[in-house]
Symmetry: C2
Subunit: 265 residues, 2 copies
Amino acid sequence: MRFKVGVCQFNPELFNVSRNLAKMESLLSDVSADLIVLPELAASGYVFRSKAEVSSCAEQPQNGPTAQLFKALAKQNKTSYVVGFAEKAKAGLYNSSMLVNPDGKINIYRKTHLFFEEKKWFMPGDTGFKVFTIKGSIKVGLMICFDWIFPESARSLALAGAQIVAHSANLVLPWCQQAMITRSLENRIFSVTSNRTGLEKNGTSKLKFTGMSQIIDPTGKIVSRMNETEEYVVVKEINPLKADDKNVTEYNNLFTDRRTELYLS
Amino acid sequence: MRFKVGVCQFNPELFNVSRNLAKMESLLSDVSADLIVLPELAASGYVFRSKAEVSSCAEQPQNGPTAQLFKALAKQNKTSYVVGFAEKAKAGLYNSSMLVNPDGKINIYRKTHLFFEEKKWFMPGDTGFKVFTIKGSIKVGLMICFDWIFPESARSLALAGAQIVAHSANLVLPWCQQAMITRSLENRIFSVTSNRTGLEKNGTSKLKFTGMSQIIDPTGKIVSRMNETEEYVVVKEINPLKADDKNVTEYNNLFTDRRTELYLS
């Protein structure tokens, strides 16, 4: 099966939603693919210092500015997108990502494991690790940034049937890109990590993001790894059905070899 | 706290138990440490072609030749050892490792996840992921080789309190050494992987082992990584109590941040 998966990295500008959406539109308008993954909090930026600041950039999941742009792009390019955004819900704010499909349908994932001061602005996600179908049969699971350090995140998605994990990120620590190779290997899944670039300041707060967005195949091979700073899109052809084969050797299947009765949880 | 942990890699000779024990004795007799980890199936070699071949090298866990040598070394050097061996039990054969302490006490771990043709000779381990205390208070967990690819192995040991995972291995695939960095990081534990070296042939069967034994700290730092071919011992000083600190940031604790109610198992 031929399937084109893309990853887009760029440097969002804090609080400047309209500029960030225009930037993503300019990067994506001419790109054709089946699925493209974008960073965490792509429309809003990241270095917030209060809940009010987050709220000023937060959006309705189904019809906010991010949803509107990506619904239009999805329809125009016949592409599904996964993009991170600050979600305004009745119960409060979530660090979420949306899967936007060409038919206009939107699925939401709310970040399970919040990082650092995110705990001050966002509610812990309550959606869990669900898998969504695109293009009729391809299973996509969503996780966000720090979810990577908990092996249970990608494991849960793989056990739920994910062939591709769409991992929107704003990475500042040096380990994730290498660890995602392990995540792909141990679950025999494709992982697509989209990480933002740039240095972001807000008052005395400052963070440098590491780029190096990447696509990893189910055998741990790096299909593509981007550079640390530039804003661009990479599209690669993969066969998602490869992720259905959990055999490491003729004697070893990563799922049926699991011995859950011996595991502590 | 000062604690000396060592790793020994060498090239066992298939079926030649007395030669392999003599080799380990010569490598270890003058080395002082608190804990030294040795490879999987260190006394017997690995490339078996029948259950009868394994049986010819298999040992009683408490008083076989491997147990006898390491009890003597442990007493002499005041060192604990973890070493892999083929275990002869009433129910059958196990791919096991033993923790041998200076007081003569021996604890056994039986490999949970068997690799490739091991399934034809060995029974799947039934001990599970238990943690043992050495030097009065230091918690050591045992796993063997292919257990690495299942994140549940190291996770179970860490949840059981392991500060150090002693990982005896006979690695032939290229991924484990890098993946063990992720295992240390995601659990904030020390991991000590002892991997054998050399090319082993038995009839038409042949395997090349990758060496590169290593000690990784709870932040994913490589304390020591050995070369691919040589037979030697490395000893490093570590502080096992570092593994008790599961905080990644002032807001993030790798254990209390887990959200088990959302995980699939």
